[in-house]
């Protein structure tokens, strides 16, 4: 289990517990469940990298305690 912090810098910061082999899409769903937004509206970024839904967090080398930028479509 890893814990990822997602911050949209507009007032929402979510700490999500997830597995390393979860996909980005799963992560988005978890975030959506916690924040109450539609998961399809969520965009996750690290700098200019937009994470794609079908790729796992391990593949993106997202480790425990990392910060991910949270944007909305």
């Amino acid at each position: 289990m890893i814990e990822v912090v997602c911050n949209d810098r507009l007032g929402k910061k979510v700490r999500v517990k997830c597995n390393g082999d979860d996909t980005v899409g799963d992560l988005k769903k978890l975030i959506a469940a916690q924040t109450g937004t539609n998961w399809e509206k969520i965009v996750l970024k690290k700098w200019y990298n937009v994470f794609k839904d079908h790729i796992t967090l391990d593949d993106y080398e997202i480790h425990d305690g990392m910060n991910i930028e949270l944007y909305y479509n």
Binding site: K13, V14, V16
Partner: protein
């Protein structure tokens, strides 16, 4: 800001809802960690193994050691030293070592001896007679005597030499003896001829070395004879065999052997010489077929594609193939002999077939050819109306039409005439006949040369015309005799020959009326040439027509031949080609021969785009410009255009008139004026009357005398002298306006010349002068004006009255070109002696004064000019002449031109000035060497500057101008009968006073005969005319 976070349970709940597996609790075991663990484990295992191995090795070592120790007897070095007491004794050690060595050597020797012995035994047991069997002995069996013992050795040779034969045994003594014998034999041979004729390489098969007969046998060269050991009973047999074969060969001579060999490879060279070459195979030849393998095509095509690739296929090809290729590639056409013989055989064949023609066939052929001819004829028959024929018929009709009107007796048409035109003349029938002939001729040649039928027609007509002309000329001779007779009867009315009398009379009629004219010699020549050309052309056409007919005939023959069955299509093709070639060649030759006399009349004309005819140079330029795409520059083009324009104008100019059409203009003017004369001087003289009036003339005459008085008593004489010539001239000059028609032209000439001489301001002066004076003043005028300024400065305002004033274009203009430069605002002379008033025109006045007074003023001169001398007159002659007749000469000079010839002008300066007058008086007009001399005073030299400074006027005769003008004015006025306008009083007065003043200073002695004052009075018209006539008569 608070983080939103969920506990593990909450998250798991959500995950279950989303269909995800629950969170993995516990420490995260990454794959890397696993790998690390694995590595560690591996290493541990390896270390353990290594340890076990080391222990095993140790055990094995110790075990080995134990075994080694157990196997080695005695004691080791260390052990010995430990155990023995005489360790340190070197003697004992060496002793011991020596004994040990001896023992070892003895053992080895014993072993070796034993081995050798064994070897010896084994050899001795084996070697016997059998061992030698198979060895060759290099001597004949016979050489060995019975019971004789010989030692044979191996023959001396290299290893490789006798590889296949094996070793050879020889006896040295025996081989020595053999060699000796051979050498002896060779020596005997040397006496024999070397060349036998049969021992060449080609027969013997091996190459002989050079001069081999001198070679000695060096080594033991045993022959092939010899025997092999162990085959005793076989050896002699082979020997016998050998000798047998050699003896058999020896029985036959070398020559015979050669013959045999040659016979084996003989080829029969005989062939049937009488056999004729033919296009076809004979039966025997036809039976020889070439095997055609099915593979061939394939292989060939493949060969064409990749010849170099498959050698295997090449090998697999049929052997006969190249042969076949040769046959196909044979060029039959190139082989001339073959071609000739083939043609011969073919001819024979065709002869046979022609013989075979049945009479029916011949008849048929004839019928065919006839029908062809008929076709042609029908094609040609009937009336042909072409452009040319129509044009020609029109022509003749037009020309002749007036004739019948003149000749009312129209003859009845002759039966011969074939024309359709009712207006009957003999010209057309001739032409039509000719035309008909031509057409028939054309028809004959139509097959071959139908394309040039059009122009041929043209030429034919030309020819026929010229022919008729030639004929008619002959007839004319006859006709002229007739006409002569008739003309004798009624001269005024020229008899017209009757048309009805025949062609000759018609032609005569035409000639009479100018319709037809016999040409000049040039034209006749031209006509002759044309006729010749026409004849040539017609001949050519005839020949061509004939050739065409022949061609057609031969073609028909060919067709006939083609029908023959024995004549294959290939042959036909070839024959036709050959025939065509031959025919063409012949045609060309014929044409060349025919055209030998053909001289075309070529005249090339170049015409530019504006229709001007160009000469060759211009044409080339145009061509060049067109070629290079650039034209001449603007200036050049303009120049050329101007030239063309000028040429055009020149061409357009009337030959009876000047370029400016003066004569016509004069005529027009005369018509307009309604008078028989023209006054030409109008343009220049219209100002004159205003300036001078008759009253002013009167005034002048009076004032001159009065004005001159104060200055001196000599003044009047001066005046008169100055008057003398000009006066007469004025009269003459003014009377010239043409009253007499014959004189008119001359008059115009005079005026014109004057206009040339004195343009601008001088015109008026010249109007009042005689031509001679004009000429004189012209020669003197070149001298700078303003000579006598002194006088001018005195009377500043005199100029107002001067006639020159009228001509002044502007107050600021310079007076004349040759005037000396003066400051136009600051004039020294004027400043000093100005009396007041305007002095603007001072210079003007001065000029006029000087000019007018020059001639009279010269009379005091001692210098005279003699003109119109014969060129042979020398300076000496002149001097002698004038010294004898006049007086002592100070200086004389004759002018020569550049080539050293006398110009006919001499200058003479007398010592005494009065002599000049004498000379003029005595000698003027007298002929010297056939030419009358003309003697005048030389123009006065220019005044010196100090004269002017002094303000003294040398040119006294101012008033004389006015008197002269006045007189002329009077005469004009009287002649024209006009009322003179009012004179300008002040001018006249100023003039007179001034002149009077000036003349006083100018003291000259007039030598001229003086004229009376009465002459100044106006003359009547009659007087003036008379004077004019006399003047003209003199001139």
């Amino acid at each position: 800001m608070s983080e939103i976070s969920a506990s593990i349970e909450e998250t798991n709940a959500i995950r279950i809802k989303l269909g995800l597996k629950p969170l993995k609790l516990g420490p995260e075991t990454s794959s890397a960690q696993v790998a690390e663990d694995n590595l560690k484990r591996q290493r541990e295992e390896e270390a353990k193994k290594a340890r076990e191995e080391a222990i095993k090795n140790k055990i094995a070592k110790s075990k080995n050691k134990r075994e080694l120790v157990k196997s080695l007897p005695g004691k080791g070095l260390g052990e010995i030293s430990d155990g023995e007491e005489d360790v340190d004794d070197v003697y004992k050690w060496t002793q011991r070592n020596k004994s040990k060595e001896k023992e070892r050597q003895a053992a080895a020797a014993a072993r070796r001896e034993k081995e050798l012995q064994e070897l010896d035994e084994s050899y001795q047991a084996e070697y016997g007679e059998e061992q030698l069997s198979g060895l060759r002995v290099g001597h004949d069996m016979d050489d060995f005597g019975e019971g004789e013992e010989r030692i044979l050795t191996l023959k001396d040779s290299s290893i490789l030499e006798n590889e296949e034969e094996g070793d050879e045994l020889i006896n040295i003594q025996m081989s020595e003896r053999e060699r000796l014998e051979k050498n002896l034999e060779n020596k005997k041979k040397k006496n024999k001829p070397v060349y036998s004729g049969f021992d060449d390489d080609e027969f013997t098969g091996k190459k002989k070395s050079l001069l081999s007969q001198y070679d000695e046998v060096l080594g033991t060269e045993s022959g092939n004879d010899g025997f092999v050991l162990g085959k005793v009973n076989r050896g002699p047999k082979t020997g016998v065999d050998r000798s047998g074969s050699s003896s058999r060969l020896g029985g036959l001579s070398a020559k015979e052997i050669m013959n045999q060999k040659l016979k084996e490879s003989a080829i029969a060279l005989t062939y049937n010489k009488t056999q004729q070459s033919n296009d076809y195979y004979t039966k025997d030849e036809a039976e020889i077929t070439f095997k055609k393998s099915k593979k061939k095509k394939k292989s060939r095509s493949r060969k064409a594609g990749d010849n170099w690739e498959d050698d295997g296929d090449e090998n697999a090809m049929d052997i006969e193939k190249p042969k076949q290729l040769d046959i196909s590639e044979l060029n039959f056409v190139d082989d001339e002999d073959l071609q000739e013989s083939l043609a011969r055989s073919r001819r024979i064949a065709t002869k046979k077939t022609i013989k075979k023609l049945t009479p029916e066939q011949i008849a048929k052929n004839l019928a065919e050819s006839k029908s062809m001819e008929i076709d042609e004829e029908t094609m040609e028959g009937g009336l042909v109306i072409s452009d040319v024929s129509e044009f020609v018929s029109n022509l003749s009709a037009n020309v002749i039409q007036p004739a019948p009107a003149l000749v009312p007796t129209v003859a009845a048409p002759k039966p011969v005439l074939r024309t359709q035109s009712p207006s009957i003349d003999e010209d057309t029938p001739v032409e039509t006949q000719d035309r008909a002939q031509d057409e028939s001729r054309n028809g004959a040649s139509k097959e071959g040369v139908s394309e040039d039928a059009e122009d041929a027609d043209d030429e034919d007509i030309n020819m026929s015309r010229s022919r008729t002309r030639a004929e008619s000329e002959e007839r004319d001779v006859e006709m002229e005799e007739e006409t002569k007779e008739t003309s004798a009867i009624d001269a005024p009315l020229v008899a017209e020959p009757l048309v009805s009398r025949g062609l000759g009379s018609t032609l005569a009629l035409l000639k009479q009326q100018g319709v037809y004219e016999t040409g000049s010699a040039e034209q006749a020549e031209k006509a002759r040439l044309q006729a010749e050309k026409a004849r040539l052309l017609s001949n050519i056409r005839l020949d061509e027509a004939r050739a065409a007919k022949e061609l057609a005939a031969s073609k028909a023959r060919d067709k006939e031949k083609a029908r023959d069955k024995n004549y294959s299509s290939r042959d036909r093709e070839r024959d036709r080609e050959y025939e065509n070639q031959r025919r063409e060649q012949q045609l060309l030759d014929d044409r060349e021969a025919r055209m030998k006399d053909y001289k075309p009349d070529v005249n090339i004309e170049y015409i530019d785009e504006s229709g001007n005819r160009l000469n060759t140079k211009e044409a080339f330029r145009q061509l060049s410009h067109a070629f290079h795409g650039k034209t001449s520059g603007k200036k050049k083009t303009e120049k050329r255009m101007k030239k063309i324009e000028d040429e055009k104008r020149l061409m357009g100019m009337s030959s009876t008139d000047t370029p400016l059409n003066m004569a016509t203009k004069f005529q027009e003017r005369q018509k307009a004026a309604g008078s028989a004369h023209i006054v030409l001087a109008v343009g220049n003289r219209n100002a004159v009357p205003s300036a001078f009036t008759s009253s002013s003339v009167g005034g002048t005459t009076s004032t001159i005398s009065s004005g001159s008085r104060p200055t001196g008593p000599s003044v009047p004489t001066t005046h008169q002298s100055t008057f003398a010539e000009p006066k007469q001239s004025t009269q003459a000059n003014l009377s010239i306006t043409g009253v007499h028609a014959p004189n008119r032209e001359k008059v115009t000439f005079g005026l014109k010349r004057k206009a040339e001489v004195a343009p601008g301001t001088q015109t008026e002066e010249f109007l009042d002068m005689a031509l001679d004076d004009v000429a004189k003043s012209r020669s003197t005028d070149t001298r700078g004006p303003g000579n006598r300024r002194g006088g001018a400065t005195r009377g500043g305002n005199t100029g107002r009255d001067s006639p020159a004033r009228n001509n002044r274009s502007s107050p600021y203009s310079r007076n004349s070109q040759d005037d000396k430069w003066t400051h136009d605002k600051f004039d020294e002379g004027q400043k000093s002696g100005r009396a007041g008033g305007s002095n603007n025109n001072n210079n003007n006045n001065n000029n006029n004064n000087s000019r007018n007074t020059r001639a009279p003023g010269n009379e005091g001169n001692a210098k005279i000019i003699v003109e119109n001398l014969h060129y042979a007159v020398t300076l000496e002659d002149i001097k002698v002449l004038f010294e004898t007749h006049a007086g002592p000469v100070k200086f004389a000079e004759v002018k020569y031109d550049l080539s050293g010839r006398s110009t006919g002008v001499a200058t003479i300066l007398f010592k005494v000035p009065s002599d000049a007058g004498v000379a003029i008086k005595k000698l003027n007009g007298i002929a010297l060497d056939g030419q009358s001399m003309k003697i005048e005073y030389a123009p006065a030299p220019p005044p010196r500057r100090d004269d002017r400074r002094a303000g003294s006027s040398r040119d006294g005769p101012r008033g004389d101008v006015f008197s002269r003008l006045g007189s002329s004015e009077a005469s004009i006025a009287s002649r024209l009968g006009k009322a003179n306008p009012l004179p300008k009083q002040s001018g006249a007065q100023g003039g007179q006073s001034r002149s009077g003043h000036g003349s006083g200073r100018n003291q000259t002695k007039p030598q001229q005969p003086k004229q009376t004052r009465q002459q100044t009075k106006p003359k009547t018209v009659e007087e003036l005319d008379a004077e004019m006539d006399t003047y003209m008569g003199d001139a």
